[in-house]
Amino acid sequence: MLPASFNAVVPMLCAGAGALVVMLAEAWRRKGERFPMALLAFIALAATGISLIFLWGRNQVSFEVVTADNFAVFVSLIIVAAGLLTVAFSTQVLERDGIPEGEYYALVLFAVVGMIMMAMANDLLVLFVGLEVMSLGVYVLTGIRRDNLAGIEGAFKYFLLGAFASAFFLYGIAFTFGVAGSTRLDKVAAFLAAQSMTGNPMVLLAMGLLIVGFAFKVSAVPFHMWTPDAYEGAPAVVTGFMSTGVKAAAFAGFVRVFLAAFEPFKADWAPALMVLAAATMIVGTVVGVAQSHLKRMLAYSSIAHGGYILVALVAANQLGKAAILFYLATYAITNLAAFGAIALLGSKDSARDGLHDYAGLWYSRPWVAGLLTVALLSLGGLPPTAGFIGKWYVFSAAVSSGYYGLAIIGVLSSVISVFFYMRVVVMMYMTDKSTGAAPTPVRGVGMVALVVTVAVILYLGILPTRVLNLAAASIGSIF
């Protein structure tokens, strides 16, 4: 058995080992031989999830820089859930679109390792390593359809801008180290709390650079430019994965760095984040209205959702901290349902992601249309879905911190967003059938996964108490 000091990294080892096994299996696979890659990936992720559940409440720390506190475990579980659902949605899609299975699942697993590392990092350098592991996996996944121009364009943009943002992030780490003499978050926090350094330009610079790095990863306006292209170009399953997993991991890092290490400087960073949050909500929804391409529209919607989470981060009171976690969970599950449905409805020849491809979907595929509708209502924040509870939680955090302005921008932008989610509903239910082939029938594992996600959306919408308490407990333990 592993020594106890390895406890906190067991989940990462599970996912990483799974990735290696998948790669080896792909290497040894004879041409034409079929191998249950998806099953391997699923088992690896399930093992990761189980090890995470065992870590709950134990506050294990490995090597002093990887901490599996409840916060990290909660976020990691969201990430693993995203991974599991992505694998479930992918089985049907990969075969149909001719995407190489071995590479795909290995990359997904490696990205999961990076994400969990970000969630658990207690050191800026570990955070950076996690960020890079995650990003490299996702860059390649974005362009995994090598014959697809949009995919390659999206991947390239994502990669270039991402590299740029990573540089900003590294500079931020360097300046932090310059000031505090350590990259360990607890040491940075202790140092900053001990010295009264308010207004110190080095600290401000460090925070600014780190904010840019994080803002890029969570696609906050004005660092969101890559998002629509990457989300549109990537296969829908990948978009679902990166719009949820990457966001959860990046927000985990964001929260830990700014609420743990830079907490004493809240007066300096809160206004900056407030502007980012407001701009993100407004741009995300207003530009989203003008989209006629479903994936692009959902890309803008996910930008806007990032804005809501930023509101909770700005509020930063007890409610806000828990709201971040709860919102990440509801958003992840909802977005995965939406992208899963889109991915499953596509076919090899047409991705079926234009708005008009959904005309009359209710008449040809009533069940999938119904499930997609629930996901859209949840994204729009209508009861009785998870999205409503998430929004309500975030805005109550904002109101109780006195940020009435942000809350009002938030609710109004969510009304605007309802308009464009409703456009899809209008297409599905209130428009005559589009010409052309009927959409692909959805069955098997994909359908089961879709039903499960929608069930979870409704569960979180009607009986949120249990998960709310978990979120509150997990954040209360560290900050």
Binding site: L377, L382, P383, P384, F388, W392, F395, S396, V399, S400, Y404, A407, I408, V411, L412, S414, V415, V418, F419, M422, V425, V426, Y429, M430, T431, P464, T465, L468, N469, A472
Partner: protein, 520 residues
């Protein structure tokens, strides 16, 4: 008991969903099943009324289950007389709406019935909620089935109307959400725990300045729903485009949610702000009364005419609430019921005509009295009810409202009285053009009169319209205690205000306000 009223329609909807009906062959079964559920529901609401204690103060049939304890959110339900009457109205109109769809809805019958039942569950949920969070959940959830009803089964411009309906209502309600959160937060500051319970929040002392903003947020949400002039522009679209069943429920119940919200939440929770704003809202209501009537007069389309008449009638209701005295409030509650019955009936009959001729233009009709005597009789009675002929239901409500408004400020009544006259003008003029005279359009010559099923939908409405006019006491008495509670709460604040203003301003208004203070 109350929970059953919400759960039963949902169970009915799930039951319907389980009926395999992809090809529409089981349409008949689906219709009967939905009707059976809704009739049982109506029976339950009547049973509720029977067991309701008119004399008791406060809420009855209370039930409270912790829901999200960390935030003091409870599944907390209970009713007083006002909600009771509106629940009975909901139970009464739903089977009628389903009956009306028998002839006019032929596509996706199953989904239609499911949405109607879900809508009923959400509407009743709104009326029984005593927890603001629960209330908001039902309030928003109600939009979804209505949106689909208008959008899928409506007329030509249905998508536009459905989206407009949804966005208007949401835009108003999200600001109310902020105010709700703000209230819960204030409660946390004052007592140490979050609460959304209106009985607890009513004890909270909210600073006047905060009341001002919170009241505006609540009032905006409800004003859009009522709809109060100038927030009424969604209404003609939604009403005209909705299928008949949708219009009946929309006019019959959904609009009342706005006025119900004013009486239940906006006025009692923020009494000082309410006292401050009431005159302004009253003026808007009066503008609505006259404006709605004038616009109704020139409509070529019957459905639009009835829709605008709703703007006018609901203006009366709001005026009654703003009078903030016993007569006004009671009249408002009564008028809510009366309007639900008479306008529901009018929409139903316009729908019947429209099913037969596929047009609703007044000019296309004429001389129907000779062709369809039964419909003509029903229409005449409903018209008279709507214009408030003594002995019909409309009269009682309007009379009480006028009485209350006169006590508050006689000037209100002078203008509002104009609305009564105008309503007679537009309704009777429409009736004359559609039913009297020779049959000018030969397409009308062979129209069938009411079928037994249509008869079954119409007769209860007409009978009730007359009954409510003859024996209004039965419908007013349950609401006595509830209305008194609201008025007393508002009076307490008015008196305080009057005492604050040491020097009485010598005009009629302040004299009326000061009078109760002297009585003390």
């Amino acid at each position: 008991m109350l929970t059953l009223l919400v759960v039963l329609p949902v169970i009915g909807a799930l039951l319907l969903a389980a009926v395999p009906n992809a090809d529409g062959r089981k349409d008949g079964l689906v219709r009967w099943l939905a009707l059976a559920v809704s009739v049982v529901m109506f029976g339950l609401t009547l049973l509720l009324w029977l067991r309701f204690d008119n004399a008791a103060e406060g809420y009855q049939f209370l039930q409270r289950v912790p829901w999200i304890p960390a935030f003091g959110i409870n599944y907390s339900v209970g009713i007083d007389g006002i909600s009771l009457m509106l629940i009975v109205l909901t139970g009464f109109l739903t089977p009628i709406a389903l009956l009306s769809s028998w002839e006019s809805v032929h596509a996706h019958v199953k989904s239609f019935a499911i949405f109607i039942l879900l809508l009923e569950a959400a509407m009743i949920g709104v009326f029984i909620s005593l927890d603001l969070f629960l209330f908001y959940v039902f309030w928003d959830a109600m939009l979804i089935p209505m949106y689909f009803l208008i959008g899928i089964w409506g007329y030509d411009q249905r998508v536009y109307a459905a989206v407009k309906f949804m966005l208007y209502t949401m835009a108003g309600s999200v600001l109310m959400l902020i105010a709700i959160l703000g209230l819960a937060y204030l409660n946390q500051v004052a007592t140490g725990s979050y609460s959304f319970d209106i009985q607890k929040l009513a004890l909270l002392h909210v600073a006047p300045r905060t009341q001002f903003w919170f009241f505006l947020a609540f009032a905006l949400a409800f004003a859009i729903k009522v709809p109060l002039f100038p927030f009424h522009t969604w209404l003609p679209d939604a009403h005209v485009q909705a299928p008949t069943a949708g219009s009946v429920i929309l006019a019959g119940v959904l609009l009342k949610m706005g006025t119900y919200g004013l009486i239940r939440f906006a006025f009692p929770l923020f009494p000082e702000a309410a006292a401050y704003f009431a005159p302004f809202i009253a003026v808007l209501a009066i503008i609505g009364i006259v404006y709605g009537a004038l616009v109704a007069m020139v409509q070529p389309d019957m459905k639009k005419l009835v829709a605008y008449s709703s703007v006018s009638h609901l203006g009366f209701v709001v005026l009654g609430i703003c009078a903030m005295n016993m007569q006004g409030m009671q009249g408002a509650v009564y008028q809510m019921l009366a309007h639900g019955v008479s306008t529901g009936g009018l929409f139903l009959m316009v729908g019947m005509l429209s099913d037969r001729r596929h047009t609703r233009l007044i000019a296309e009709f004429g001389g129907l009295k000779a062709v369809m005597p039964k419909l003509t009789a029903g229409f005449l009675l409903m018209t008279l009810a709507s214009i408030g002929l003594p002995g019909m239901n409309g009269f009682v409500g309007e009379f009480l409202i006028m009485l209350g408004a006169f006590k508050a400020d006689p000037r209100y009544v002078i203008v509002a009285g104009l609305g009564v006259i105008l309503s007679a003008v537009y309704m009777l003029w429409m009736f004359q053009r559609v039913f009297y005279g020779p049959v000018t359009n030969e397409k009308n010559a062979k129209l069938k009169d009411l079928s037994p099923r249509e008869w079954a939908a119409l007769v209860p409405l007409v009978a009730l319209a007359v009954f409510m006019g003859v024996a209004p006491g039965i419908f007013i008495r349950p609401t006595d205690q509830a209305v008194k509670a609201v008025v007393e709460r508002l009076d307490a604040v008015k008196t305080e205000h009057a005492e604050h203003r040491a020097a009485p301003v010598p005009d009629a208004v302040s004299a009326a306000v000061v009078a109760p203070a002297e009585g003390k």
